[in-house]
């Protein structure tokens, strides 16, 4: 609760709303104590005095009544009526909602149908009908506004009660023999009250506005008594000749409603946990690049795509998560490089950084280079980067249900992949899309092209994702766990498909996965990542035969092998370190059986001979023998 108030206080606008509202309420409370003129005392000699007249700070109205006095008394009345209406609607709505939600079944059905019926009216029609029946008057307007808002509360509270009615503590109370009314009062109500209070606080401004509106129409408070709405209504006839009589109560309503809205927004934001984590910020078109130094010039030559000392971080509030800290990779045409690691090891962020697809905010690339044929794409302008995306470097993502647009036909999404890089006619696009679907072995492509992603199976959707990546004959495909969401047989089909495509088209593939079994089937070389760094790199077969880093060997031990069912499957105890607080030296030391004091003393380099390299002071014995 105190955290909630802290969040609220941090929101300056909400705080401002709270202060203004507090002032208005305080003023309304002390109004009877202030030395004010009688708000209803008419003085025809002093009609329509302008503001700042002698003895009349805000002037007078058409009957010579003191406007300041009427404004304060009117504010008091409007606040009281608005609050009473909100309270009445909340109590009645909550009662209806709790009964419907708690008893369920037919009771619920009948009540909620009635509520739906009331909600079928545009709200003012119902309010007008009620006032028509009861007759104009402030109390009747209050009743009308309350009744109109009961359905809103009833619906909200019912939803919450339904959730509570099946909780253990309610069952326990039933078993203990408590009667239903007692359960409602002692178990349900205390849990619902906070929701009622919040719903009330967000609607109270609305209630004030509505009752003021009815008074404005002449259906609420009757002369000589005046709330802010009827002050405005009475002043309307003198709008053009004496605008101050309208402006003064109007501004007051505006101030009240605005401060309540500010406060309400603040309350809502403070209650929405997503706002705290900054998750509601939208990613920009490309990841922000903020490099202090220009990246070192290109060194290797035969690679089509290379990463050089890439650093990608996430800045959330005052914390810095170093997702990728100094990754260098390269891939040659026709080669498949596997990048393997646990979740959170930074492998996906590495892959997304290449074409600036890391969500930003909060992601920032702070150092390094990503080169396509020697050209650094991190320094490219967005227009150039966009033209390279999908045309030269294409992505295949995990979970194709979330990664395909749910409302566009599969074919249209394929055609768009082509048409955003070159003009293509409708019929030609369609032909090409069918060809693409055929190339990823989707049966009946002529029909499948016109269906939506949700009408396909997971494996089929993944094929569409692959087809989309192939649309422009790219040079490099970056596949980010493309088979993780699929079952094993489909996974095998997708892998053999990728393998064939690589051979046929000479594609370079960067394959991100957490599964050594998959790496073994597809990849020529593999890089093992841990806590944002590469800990071992080399040809797949050699690493599988003789892993050098203790982490790699543990990871390989995690893969079950067919026909060796008796072998114990080894999970790695512990969790990877949090990347906002990395230890010195080896990040794996905590979980490593061979760790020595020296492991956590200082920076350990990625060292090795020939094609292999490892970031470890005490490599596994097999590796030491091989390189010796």
């Amino acid at each position: 609760m105190s955290a909630f108030f802290k969040l609220l206080a941090r929101n300056r606008l909400a705080l401002g709303g709270l202060i203004v509202m507090g002032l208005v309420v305080a003023l309304a409370l002390i109004t009877p104590l202030l030395p004010l003129a009688d708000p209803d005392a008419t003085d025809t000699a002093n009609r329509f005095l302008p503001p700042l007249s002698d003895g009349y700070l805000l002037g007078t109205d058409g009957l010579g009544r003191d406007l300041l006095s009427r404004l304060l008394w009117g504010t008091r009345l409007s606040l009281a009526v608005g609050f009473a209406a909100a309270l009445f609607a909340a109590v009645a709505g909550a009662a209806v909602g709790i009964i419907a939600g708690f008893y369920g079944g037919r009771t619920d059905n009948i009540i909620m149908r009635g509520v739906d019926m009331l909600m079928a009216f545009p709200y003012i029609l119902l309010a007008l009908a009620i006032v028509a029946a009861l007759g104009p008057g402030l109390v009747n307007a209050l009743i009308a506004v309350s009744v109109v808002n009961i359905p809103f509360f009833a619906r909200n509270i019912r939803g919450i009660t339904v959730g509570l009615a099946h909780k253990e503590f309610v069952d326990a109370a039933k078993l203990a023999g408590m009667s239903n009314p007692r359960i409602i009062l002692s178990e349900i109500l205390p849990n619902v009250v906070p929701v009622i209070v919040i719903a009330m606080s967000t609607t109270i401004g609305w209630m004030i506005l509505e009752t003021a509106g009815l008074s404005f129409l002449g259906l609420g408070s009757q002369p000589p008594q005046a709330d802010l709405g009827s002050m405005l209504g009475e002043a309307r006839s003198a709008l053009i000749t004496n605008p101050h009589t309208s402006v003064i109560p109007g501004i007051m309503i505006l101030i009240i409603v605005m401060s309540i809205n500010l406060l309400g927004d603040g309350v809502r934001d403070a209650l929405d946990p997503r706002l705290k984590s900054g998750a509601l910020s939208r990613p920009m078109a490309a990841t922000r690049v903020e490099r202090k130094e220009r990246p070192a010039p290109e060194t290797s030559t035969d690679a089509i795509l290379s990463l050089d000392d890439l650093h990608t971080q996430f800045h959330v509030k005052d914390r810095i998560y170093k997702a990728v800290s100094g990754v260098s990779l390269s891939v040659k045409p026709g080669e498949c490089l596997g990048v393997i690691g646990e979740s959170g090891s930074g492998k996906s962020v590495t892959a997304l950084s290449i074409m600036g697809l890391v969500a930003s905010p909060p992601g920032i690339i702070t150092a390094g280079a990503a080169r396509l044929e020697g050209r650094d794409m991190l320094s490219a302008r967005f227009g150039e980067l966009r033209r390279l995306r999908g045309r030269r470097v294409a992505y295949i993502f995990q979970d194709p249900l979330a990664t395909l647009h749910p409302l566009y036909k599969v074919g249209d999404q394929l055609i768009e992949a082509i048409s955003c890089h070159r003009a293509i006619s409708k019929s030609e696009g369609r032909k090409k899309a069918i060809e693409l679907l055929k190339s990823v072995r989707i049966p009946n492509p002529e029909e499948r092209i016109d269906i939506y992603p949700h009408e396909m199976s997971g494996g089929m959707r993944q094929r569409v994702g692959i087809a989309m990546a192939l649309a422009n004959d790219p040079d490099v495909i970056i596949a980010d766990e493309p088979t993780t969401a699929l079952d094993v047989t489909v996974q095998a089909q997708i892998l053999s498909l990728l393998s064939d495509l690589r051979r046929e088209r000479g594609l370079a593939i960067i394959f991100i996965t957490h599964d050594f079994g998959v790496v073994a089937q597809l990849c020529d070389r593999v890089a093992v990542m841990y806590a944002g760094r590469i800990v071992e790199e080399g040809p797949t077969m050699e690493i599988l035969r003789a892993p050098a880093h203790p982490y790699t060997s543990r990871l390989i031990a995690c893969v079950p092998e067919l026909g060796e069912g008796k072998r114990k499957l080894e999970a790695i105890p512990g969790l990877p370190p949090s990347v906002d607080n990395l230890p010195a030296g080896c990040a794996f030391a905590d979980r490593c059986l061979k760790a020595q004091d020296s492991c956590t003393k200082g920076e350990i380099g990625l060292e090795g001979s020939g094609s292999r390299a490892v970031r470890c002071l005490f490599p596994e014995p097999g590796f030491a023998e091989e390189t010796a």
Binding site: F121, P122, L125, L357, F382, R386, A402, C420
Partner: protein
């Protein structure tokens, strides 16, 4: 699709019947004798009995409801005693004027609300976002009747750009240009609040959608940013914006009552307020039932639009 629309229309029948029951019950609560209210000082016992017989008020409540319902189904909403015309004629004429006003406002709030919301989301935390957020806050906090009065002061009295009130010029008005000239201010004043609400919701719907994986996919394909925002993202966000447009239509219709009073627009809202003050019960009943039924039908149109937009909805 045809089956879906038919199903929705059939489901609307009990809702509209429910509306007639609620309105009838509310009106039946009226204390005292409607005949006395109608007759005023002519309320001799003979006259009261005759009026009661004419209005069918001597029959029991349930019978009266069914007679009223039956007559309405035949297009007979009764006779307005204050205007001495058939209720249905008055209602249709006035509702037509309200539709011109509220319809224009609805289009305005939809177009500008979505436009502002999308720009605000795409430029989150930027200058445009802050300006729009502030304008929206002001817009949803200002009472429309007060805004309307201030607009009259400024644009009609001071600047003389628009007429102060009415729907047509008294002499020689009535053509389209004249109506548009009269319509501009009330339509804008009515649209402001709804525009603010739509903008707010569009902004949060867009922010929600822009974080989705399929937006990243579109960007990875190399789709232009303009198309990512106004195509991919907005299309998906519309799924949550459209239901709110349906709700806002109800608020625009409600707000029209105030605006019609402020601008002397001869719409159904003003008619209802006058009828209430005159205690012209049949006119109130007929007007409320008619407008509420139209709103139910409008919401069906919204649902159908929603199902056309989202293929995942089973139709």
């Amino acid at each position: 699709m045809g089956g879906y629309i038919l199903k929705r229309l059939l489901l609307a029948i009990p809702v509209i019947l429910g509306i007639t029951v609620i309105v009838f019950l509310i009106m039946a609560m009226i204390p005292g004798d409607p005949a006395t209210a109608i007759l005023g000082s002519y309320a001799t016992p003979d006259n009261v009995a005759r009026i009661n017989r004419d209005l069918g008020l001597d029959k029991p409540l349930v019978a009266r409801y069914f007679i009223w319902l039956w007559n309405m189904l035949h297009g007979d909403f009764g006779q307005s005693f204050s205007l001495n015309r058939p209720v249905i004629d008055v209602v249709l004429e006035r509702f037509n004027n309200t539709l011109i006003l509220a319809g224009t406002s609805f289009v305005l709030c939809t177009v500008f609300g979505i436009l502002a919301g999308v720009i605000s989301a795409a430029r989150q935390y930027g200058l445009a976002d802050k300006a729009i957020t502030f304008a929206v806050l002001l817009g949803i906090s200002i009472p429309s009747f007060f805004l309307g009065m201030m607009m009259i002061l400024f644009f009609a009295v001071d600047l003389r750009w628009f007429p102060v009130s009415g729907m047509t010029a008294i002499y020689g008005g009535g053509d389209l240009a004249d109506v548009i000239h009269h319509l501009t201010m009330p339509a804008l004043a009515l649209a402001v609040v709804a525009t603010g609400v739509v903008a707010r919701l569009s902004r949060s719907a867009m922010l929600e959608v822009l974080r989705q994986d399929f937006i990243r996919t579109a960007r990875a394909k190399g789709v232009r940013e303009g198309r990512v925002i106004w195509g991919h993202a907005l299309r998906a966000a519309m799924v949550s914006i459209i239901p709110v447009l349906g709700i806002q239509a109800g608020f625009v219709l409600s707000g029209a009552v105030y605006i019609e009073i402020v601008f002397q627009w001869p719409g159904i809202g003003r008619m209802l307020v006058d009828a209430i003050l005159q205690r012209d019960i049949l006119l109130v009943q007929g007007g409320v039932v008619f407008v509420a039924s139209c709103y139910v039908i409008f919401n069906i149109i919204v649902d159908v639009a929603q199902s056309l937009l989202d293929p995942r909805i089973k139709t």
